[in-house]
Symmetry: C2
Subunit: 349 residues, 2 copies
């Protein structure tokens, strides 16, 4: 951890001006090759590396974009990070991962930090628009004042930023239709929230789909709960213990695969078989889906593609700055065994 060697040291040692050193480090062709070699030798000898902060200061930008996530434990977000990271790097940017807890206002310190660093953009993902998140629009508009903002979330005019959204309709329709085709009539939805934030969309669309098919949308058939496995366990227990047996749903749709994982355990624990007694469909098509018992049917929202597009939009928006909504790709149902289809199983009413 020595004294930092600067461009001056190199210039002096090589007997050239700092401008020439810069030309060498930035591969500017306007340098005699003999000079270049000499300078490069000194650079190597001194292990000189230009300072990023000095360059950023000069250029007025950091070549970095931020990804703001509520958490990273859920592998869904991991996939978003990975994909966004790749795309950023491919475009010569760095990605900075920041966490901002769900269901809480975006901390003032966070937005300040983003601005302070003169980031070239921010990408939000994951339940941004929760109702208990006061001051969200203010935070976003303050950010927008300084850099392009893209959110992976349901289209929302209030947000006034570029929204990349997943296929919320398909994501509800696909599993409901599938189960309906298999003969199911009493279908329940667990997890997320019907009232609050982005995630409510999923539940709302589920209800609409039930109505469209003329199925009962009994309020007892949708339970709000959290987003993790434990929530899934509890939700199933609560759902079934609240209904007399003959009104039990024959199929369950979970907000995500984590919830499904918990639900699966609880269903089995209650002595029910999946899919025979209770079909189950999750969402996100996570890595563990093929490995549950039975393997979990799930909806793939293609988060990687969303993240990639989001980064692209961000980079484009640096010129043309407008808010917009766009869907990247329709979701698809990945059929495994937990829904019963693979087993040729057909529910008899």
């Amino acid at each position: 951890m020595n004294r930092k060697v600067t461009i001056y040291d190199i210039a002096r040692e090589a007997g050239v001006s700092t401008a020439t050193v810069t030309r060498v480090t930035s591969n500017d062709p306007r340098v005699k090759s003999s000079t270049r070699e000499r300078v490069q030798r000194i650079i190597d000898a001194y292990a000189y590396t230009p300072s990023a902060s000095a360059r950023d200061l000069e250029r007025g930008q950091s070549k970095t974009i931020a990804l703001v996530l509520p958490q990273i434990i859920n592998p869904y977000f991991t996939r978003i990070f990975n994909s966004a990271n790749e795309e950023a790097i491919a475009n010569g940017y760095s990605l900075w991962l920041v966490q901002s807890p769900d269901h809480k206002p975006i901390p003032r310190t966070l937005t300040e930090e983003l601005i302070r660093r003169r980031l070239d953009g921010v990408l939000f993902a994951g339940n941004i628009w929760s109702t208990d998140r006061s001051g969200l629009s203010e935070a976003l508009s303050r950010l927008r004042h300084h850099m392009p903002v893209v959110a992976i979330c349901p289209p929302n005019a209030k947000l006034d930023c570029i929204c990349i959204h997943s296929d919320l309709v398909g994501c509800a329709r696909l599993p409901v239709r599938h189960l309906h085709t298999l003969g199911h009539r009493r279908i329940a939805f667990i997890g997320g929230s019907l009232l609050e934030g982005d995630s409510s969309q999923r539940g709302q669309n589920f209800l609409e789909e039930l109505r469209a098919l003329g199925l009962p949308d009994d309020p007892a058939y949708h339970l709000d709960c959290g987003y993790d496995a434990e929530s899934g366990e509890r939700a199933v227990l609560r759902l079934l213990s609240g209904l007399e047996r003959k009104r039990w749903p024959t199929a369950l749709i979970a907000f995500n695969d984590l919830v499904a994982l918990g639900a699966l355990k609880q269903i089995k624990q209650m002595g029910l078989r999946v899919p025979d007694d209770m079909a189950l469909i999750g969402c996100d098509n996570q890595f563990f889906c093929p490995y549950t018992d039975p393997p979990l049917t799930s909806v793939d929202l293609y988060p990687e593609e969303m993240a990639r597009s989001a980064v692209r939009e961000l980079l484009i928006a640096r010129e043309n700055n407008a808010s917009s909504f766009s869907l990247v790709r329709e979701s698809s149902l990945i059929v495994r065994e937990s829904c019963g289809a693979k087993l040729g199983y057909r529910k008899l009413e």
Copy 2:
């Protein structure tokens, strides 16, 4: 995205010097409260935020440390990130997550970038010391020249940096002893590698433990393979199909829970029951362990605590710069059902 407002604008508008503005933004007490208020008003009105790069340039440091991971998909690394991130923030630092693929040299561009940014430290985790990673020592020593380096990895003198390591002995001993106590005599180990890199330690310790207990350390009983679920599936297939039935192991230890997940599926697919026909123990105690069927017994290495300590060491090492090895906490066996103990199951030889 307006023209950036600088400290000069604020100073001029408030009729003070830039020094005073700095004093206000940095809460320096040596400012008359009336002046402070006036300046603060202007700052708010203009939404002024000091530039991080200018400050970094002046101070010669970035208040940021890097976490270098081979990947982030494996939730084990997610936990490390989370914990390191928290600890960094608690100390007033930011954490920058960087990926550098396994089994490949650390790219020159990466080390350059770390130095260029004048980071205050680097934290490596995850199979750093793989043999096919040429130039590792060079890369590390180059980094060490500029900033403290801490690695979460088995102690290794060649690395010449601070090593925080997990309890590699306990991590092998615990499951072996446990299975031995339950009556198992033919125990196999799958996943990771016995030859290459950090992960070999795990396999080596496993073998030693077998010998210590006088158990057969048949080479057929340890299979190298990858680190994910698919590897686990394949490993089991390969293991069992290579042995006549009477020589089949009665228990399996997997390199990690992902491998165990795949193994579990394959074992069941072959018509074997877990734990009755084949006991199974994983490693990392991941979130899905309670939700496999049967719930997976696993070893907890407490990666969160390692990461936390690693960050602390890093921050301390900025003064006192020496290489050292240390173990943070002993691992423990989290007993669930896949090993058979909970069921009071006892293997008869």
